[in-house]
């Protein structure tokens, strides 16, 4: 069992990062910390994709003009998907942070519990 997990260490890290990110989204009362948790969740998924592209003993997908027929390369496709996802993720973070600034402007707090109290008072 332990050896099986050691051979899949990036997948285990993927699971751990997913859980830590989700925990931050749910348990942190500060809105900025929730967004950072979302980012950690994201990087966990990126790690999963990059691992699927990885080939042991291969090289990065920069293919010289005359490549040996037997040379192993990491798959470029998952890496491209992750590149796209990173940029989209930052766009998402930017919108979320803009909303956080707007919430602070309207309610004067970023704490989830205080926000809930203010909302029920209205």
């Amino acid at each position: 069992m332990l050896e099986t997990l050691a051979n899949r260490y990036t997948y285990v890290l993927f699971a751990l990062l997913l859980v830590v990110g989700l925990y931050m989204v749910v348990a942190s009362s500060n809105l900025v910390k929730k967004i950072i948790g979302l980012n950690i969740f994201q990087t966990g998924l990126f790690l999963f994709f990059v691992t699927t592209a990885f080939v042991d003993g291969g090289s990065s997908p920069v293919i010289p003009k005359e490549a040996d027929a037997g040379a192993a390369f990491a798959s470029p496709l998952p890496q491209v998907l992750v590149l796209t996802a990173i940029v989209v993720g930052v766009a998402l973070t930017a919108v979320a942070l803009a909303l956080v600034i707007r919430i602070y402007d309207a309610y004067g707090t970023l704490d989830e519990k205080t926000l809930r109290e203010v909302r029920t008072d209205e």
Binding site: M1, L5, R8, Y9, T10, Y11, V12, A15, L16, L17, L18, V19, V20, L22, Y23, V26, A27, S28, N30, V32, K33, G37, N39, I40, F46, L47, V50, T51, T52, A53, F54, D56, S59, S60, P61, I63, P64, K65, F73, S75, P76, L77, Q79, V80, L83, T84, V87, V90, T93, A94, V95, L97, V100, I101, R102, D105, G108, T109, L110, D111
Partner: protein
């Protein structure tokens, strides 16, 4: 020796992620998150994805940290009453269970870096690797796929970034900052 390095990297990324979750002070969390970003970019570089590592370095560590700092500057930074966050036990129990489920799935995956695995997708990957230079004239297969074979995907990404910029501007235009 690569196994030892992978183990050290694993510990570093895990420790930084846990510290990000546990720390109370928001500015401290932003700084620690920057360190976490460094670790993940190193992990991508180790897993033979230099382009992804470069993007994570410039965008993950650079732009995201800057955006978070700008948000903190525009809002309030509560003085931390304690060093660490108080653990939320129900959430810990739920996500501990989720972790167990995820690990039960993970053990069924093929080992890391094993050639000929289920998502190896030999057809497409092999085509890109063999024909990228002839078709596009670029040695870097990632660039060839990003801008050539899957150019429309990248166009869609640009549309998303543009809409996100517009959305942020619309949201921020209504901010009046009455609470200075």
């Amino acid at each position: 020796m690569t196994e030892l390095f992978a183990a050290a990297l694993f510990v570093f990324v895990l420790v930084t992620a846990l510290a990000t979750a546990a720390l109370r002070d928001v500015l401290g969390v932003v700084v620690v998150f920057a360190a976490y970003s460094l670790g993940t970019a190193l992990f991508y570089a180790f897993l033979l994805a230099p382009d992804v590592a470069m993007t994570e370095a410039a965008i993950g560590a650079g732009v995201t940290t800057l955006l978070l700092l700008l948000t903190l500057a525009k809002t309030v930074r509560p003085t931390p009453d304690q060093w660490l966050e108080r653990p939320n036990l129900p959430a810990l129990a739920v996500f501990g269970a989720l972790f167990v489920v995820l690990v039960a799935t993970v053990v069924e995956f093929p080992a890391v870096g094993e050639p000929g695995v289920m998502w190896d997708n030999p057809g497409v990957t092999q085509y890109y690797i063999e024909n990228a230079y002839e078709d596009t004239g670029v040695e870097n297969a990632v660039t060839a796929v990003l801008a050539g074979y899957r150019g429309f995907d990248t166009f869609g990404e640009a549309v998303v970034v543009f809409s996100a910029g517009i959305a942020s501007l619309i949201v921020l235009r209504q901010v009046v900052f009455t609470r200075e």
